[in-house]
Symmetry: C2
Subunit: 335 residues, 2 copies
Amino acid sequence: MDTSRKPGPVRIQDVAAKAGISAITVSRVLHQPAQVAAGTRARVHAAIEALGYIPDLAASALASRRSGIVGVLVPTIANSVFSETVAGLSDALADTGLQTLLGDYGYSADREAALLRAMLGRRAEAIVAVGLIRDPALRRMLRASGVPVVETWDLADDPIDLMVGFSNEAAGAAMGHHLLVRHYRQIAFVGGVDERAAARFAGLRRVIAPVHGATLTRLDRSGDLSIEAGRAGLAALLDRPHRLDAVFFASDVLAAGGLLEAAARGLSVPRQIAIAGLGDLEIGRALSPPLTTLRIHAHEMGRRAGEMLTRRLAGEAVPGAAVDVGFELVVRGST
Amino acid sequence: MDTSRKPGPVRIQDVAAKAGISAITVSRVLHQPAQVAAGTRARVHAAIEALGYIPDLAASALASRRSGIVGVLVPTIANSVFSETVAGLSDALADTGLQTLLGDYGYSADREAALLRAMLGRRAEAIVAVGLIRDPALRRMLRASGVPVVETWDLADDPIDLMVGFSNEAAGAAMGHHLLVRHYRQIAFVGGVDERAAARFAGLRRVIAPVHGATLTRLDRSGDLSIEAGRAGLAALLDRPHRLDAVFFASDVLAAGGLLEAAARGLSVPRQIAIAGLGDLEIGRALSPPLTTLRIHAHEMGRRAGEMLTRRLAGEAVPGAAVDVGFELVVRGST
DNA sequence: GCGCTAACTGTTAGCGCTACCATTCGCAGG
DNA sequence: CCTGCGAATGGTAGCGCTAACAGTTAGCGC
């Protein structure tokens, strides 16, 4: 067993000594290289290289009062649309020297609070949340902290700070409109129990309810966004005596299950039953018939969030208003 | 525009003053509550609550020389099997007070190096990598840093430190064996150009090459692990004059594309063409026929990595040997 | 030559927290 | 009464880095 004492990590002082200058100059080479003479700069770089110096970012953050961190709070990174938003944010932040600190809370309120606390503890310069932050205590904590916050994927009346999303209600309405235009009248909605799904259903209902002879059913599958849940959802609907000619699923993954269940039952899509989803995921494009869906600009939401933050952190006054990035109806063979 | 000066975040000193005790005692309430009298503890908690105190973790890390961070390096978090490994790690670390810092390098060597540097800069107490770290310079940097490292998802002869994975070569061989037993002889492999896929192919070849009358073809789709790439892969193979009765895809996602392409061409699976994948993803279970696949213990690899680290950080001497968590052949209808 | 500016580098004093040691207090045992 | 001991708390001195200011030097115009 190796019991030799490591001399510990190399410090800025060691680099300075090796290069024959003072610590502050090394710091400047790292952060404002233009202020340092070319020769000195070269010697410092050589010393850094030779010693394998890696600056201590905790000490740097403490002294400079800039952590360089943006906290990103995600209900689950396993959902590919959310990871796209994270990717969009990372892209937007790539050139800013800001690093994202990803926190996946797995839809658990406790973990959400803990992660937020950790982000504030690391003095994140901004927080981006996928979805709204619901807990009033957390909202208060964030407001009090004065840290810029961007909530994405939803639009609400009382943003904590900034907001970039789309209207789930309008999305539901758009799909409802499409289904009506295609002469579907016995319509069902399959989604989770979250508020986002509720808003989509509300939009759907707003459009469908006034139409004479149209019916609308709702089936809640618990938050489980799996193909299997989609199959089970369609199966449950079909096993009811109620007539049905179109089903709108709150996610393409669920809708894929719907397509597969219909195929397993020998139902022709869309002739006997129309199926639509949301998200424009690859699985919906790949199955047959390809899925009518609502394309959500997940990547762009992340990008816009990053841009808003960058401007805000640069001192520009970014109006706190919510940005609506909209969505897009993509009509394919399944309706 | 609001130009009022914020009083800045609450510091430990403010809490101490409010509770009528010294800063160090507040620190102890947070880290070694048993050492503080119950009454004092209560007063401190009340003060923390009242002021909304959130400890500065950068300062804490600097003073205590413990960052509480475990860096996790992932080629892409969009691949669900990798996110499962991350989840397994998080589970194992949940009670340890360690927090994961996730870095997704999108298969870019530059970003990999930058992220690793950032993790070491934050003085991560350990690093977990999904996949091997290939760049010799990075390997040297990690070895020199003395930070515990766990490489997962692969087994190699020269781990940087710890290692928990499975043999991709053995996995390929197991699938080859299965296909031979089922009397398939004209076999193709579709995978990426990465070393992991290469190892799977090598295992396949080891088993198949010696068999008289058996043939083996390899088709590389660039790293794109999409359903569409799988379809295109099977299409390319079928458009060759060469006979073919089984295809092993390096991922269930690719294999799903294979199943769909076969269906689109009216080919019966597995009668006219057998299809197998790797990963045991939901999509393989959902399609028809369900996919024969190799189940990889992604979650367990993360969990084991976390356990090894926890023991190592607790001072136990954990042998540097590689842990093989194996895999499992799951035979379903597609072969 | 002088003042003046620009370019470069150094000194000092913390950032907010905790390790280390010291101190205080109450009480059991002699 | 003193000693010894454990429990509870505090003072001091940094952790490694950078902001703010302070030199120092060279070059320039007059």
